[in-house]
Symmetry: C2
Subunit: 435 residues, 2 copies
């Protein structure tokens, strides 16, 4: 393969933390990228809102422009790193309709308007690349789309949000409280001033929708993702988890369910803090790192680990996509596009079957355990383990590990426990994932 | 994308552990594969040496044939799972020259005759797929070739041989001796009756050559891979490693070296048992699992983990390649082929710079440490830590952790230590990798 027999025009929309790094790498490593892409990649311009704003990298002033439209119409490849829905969506559609291949790291856009973009690209024979949208620098799109194309994914469990993993990991290592670690993470720049998107699981839910769409060949709308954040996790819950051999992780779970009665398949996509065995590979994912654990029918268990965020790390994934797009331009042919042929129905969270850990504050008197056990049994929830700790003042804690139960049964049973005279308070209900 | 508008003829060469599974999955999941590939994949025949030999899967008798040549000439995609150099090489070249895309899991063939196959494919516009050859079921080829195409790989450290990882892990967990664990692994089928290819590092060296070629865009011949096996590792060495916070793993290391004087780059590819910090993600790779740890300039640290071998696991990687080959047939265009544009020189192992742990049996008398320290210092090797343990009978063990030193200096120095009057025996010299 020889370089320089072709030149491709690359337009960049956005010059924030990731965009600046992408521009800098495109300019610094031009020769090497040309060798790999089979064409010289000419960065023809960078659209920004304000050409005078401070940037993370030192970019040539003459590349900056506020006129995105003009850039887009003349480009072979358009890289969108603005984030947000608009004007990203309009500009990407404009680029696609002008015949460009597009590269984006915009998970919010893909999770809400992905099908629209993919359809537009299909119509004109363009392609949408989005490796950086699912798990930052971790290569997960190509493994799911290509390497596992001959296999069937059973389940994905992803630690796909670095901020929440950092917080939970610090709480686990130091016995610290959520609010204290969050404040420190904000001071260090690991968490935003408004941490809602991370700690309430919105960011993870967007990534879960993207991963599930790809893994199950089904368009998964963002509002089909069940979502719970980590704000209710306290150090007591982490300590209780530890005593039972678990660590608490915010997981994005994408699972293929099979109805035992008729064999009909559906998929469940959910984000919540869950108990993971300390022996599980996901338990050793520390700090702000991410990992995607994939269970496939033939391949078995796979894990993809790395930095989930960061400007230069994410830029690596974006540039990989740019090289792929360039190769496709050179080689001709059409890409594989989005694959939604399976089109599986989405199951409500109530259909999920897993194990649970229920922690109850109960009256410390004889007969209470029998009453609690009876309520669980009536609800179809079978007990695997019970630990009782007396806290004084006539109050005890019961930590109950259940066998596998359906979420709906479990949830109804917990309601009945909460209403029982002997239960003072339902301290926590956590799912166990990964076993 | 609609299926069934095209049919592709798929020929399979070999029906051993992997081949049987590939055939079974092609037949069982035909509809799903057709949806993903954009074409119906017709398995037109399976070439075997003996149609009556027992198989792992129940394959339709009428597909089996001993006439590989006839199968090959009419196929769109040829899957080679025979292993060995011949007749695999001749038949793959025959398939390529007949215009077929080929899929192979044959690491021995790729590591020795890869360039020949890639050149033949380039000439006719065909493509060679080999995801299963590098790390079994773990998707590593596409991440290296595509996802990291815009990045620069600094170093790869791979646990790419399941048998040796199983043996070393058992020795570490149980304090067992090599020979005992090997015998048990053979009884369980984790190790071959003749374990040479695994325990002497030949299998890992083949995979290292394939990974390094891909990561550094350079053709790496197998004989440029420095190779040491694990047969000299005993439980004393594992215990010494443990006390210093390490675990011993057989690593395939592919590293970009930069000459500090002139900035000239070269690459080092080596396989040997090395000390890995117990905090490193590779330390938690247990049993027969494999993992490939990649350090890239922009993406940072990535790890890819999964089953390195096994019939059905490897079949997953093969089928992913088959779907990719089919998509390329449908979409037209040419593939990316092998990329050797960087063509970096290969550095001898003497140029490698790393830390070492040297264990010496010395006379237990005053002044010995000063003599040993003097010899190290004269050799340009700087000491980081020393631990001395007295073993009785006038003999002590010195466990010396060095700072980073060049292998050649280290090796010359160890020769001088071995010749010294105060050193009874050089017990072991192990490199420290991953820090």
């Amino acid at each position: 393969m020889t370089a320089d027999h072709r030149r491709l025009r690359v337009a960049l929309l956005g010059a924030g933390a990731v965009g600046s790094q992408v521009a800098a790498l495109l300019l610094q490593h031009g020769d090497e990228l040309a060798d790999r892409a089979g064409a010289t990649l000419d960065l023809v311009g960078i659209a920004v809102r304000d050409v005078d704003a401070p940037r993370d990298a030192d970019l040539p002033r003459d590349l900056l422009t506020t006129d995105a439209d003009e850039l887009i119409v003349s480009a072979d490849i358009v890289i969108e790193l603005m984030g947000g829905i608009e004007p990203a969506k309009t500009q990407l559609l404009q680029a696609i309709n002008a015949g460009a291949d597009v590269v984006t790291a915009n998970k919010a856009l893909l999770a809400t308007h992905g099908p629209e973009l993919f359809e537009a690209a299909d119509r004109v024979g363009a392609e949408v690349y989005y490796e950086a949208a699912a798990a930052g620098a971790i290569p997960i799109i190509r493994p799911l789309r290509d390497s596992l194309a001959g296999d069937r994914v059973r389940r994905i469990m992803g630690i796909v949000n670095g901020t929440t993993n950092y917080i939970l990991d610090r709480m686990d290592l130091e016995g610290a409280e959520f609010a204290d670690v969050l404040a420190e993470a904000q001071a260090l720049g690991y968490a935003e001033a408004d941490p809602t998107a991370d700690v309430e699981g919105f960011d993870a839910a967007q990534k879960a929708a993207i991963l599930a769409s790809l893994a199950f060949h089904t368009a998964v709308p963002l509002d089909a993702v069940h979502r719970e954040g980590i704000t209710s996790i306290d150090k007591g819950m982490i300590e209780t988890a530890r005593r039972a051999g678990f660590v608490i992780k915010l997981l994005a779970v994408c699972e293929r369910l099979t109805d035992p009665e008729n064999g009909v398949e559906s998929i469940s996509v959910r984000v919540y803090p869950a108990l993971v065995s300390r022996e599980h590979p996901l338990a050793s994912v520390h700090g702000a790192n991410n990992a995607v654990f994939v269970e496939a029918e033939a391949a078995g268990d796979l894990m993809f680990y790395g930095a989930g965020a960061g400007g230069v790390q994410t830029a690596s994934a974006v540039l990989g996509d740019v090289v792929s797009a360039a190769r496709r331009h050179i080689a001709g042919g059409v890409g594989v596009g989005e694959s939604t042929h399976a089109n599986l129905p989405l199951a409500p969270v109530g259909h999920v079957v897993t194990r649970y850990q229920i922690t109850l504050e109960v009256d410390d008197r004889p007969g209470v355990l029998a009453i609690v056990a009876g309520l669980l049994s009536d609800g179809g929830v079978s007990i695997a383990t019970v630990e009782q700790t007396v806290h004084g003042g006539g109050v005890a804690h019961l930590v109950i590990g259940t066998h596998r139960a359906q979420e709906q049964n479990l949830s109804d049973t917990v309601d009945r426990l909460a209403a029982s005279d002997v239960v003072e308070r339902v301290v926590s209900v956590l799912r166990v994932e990964g076993d």
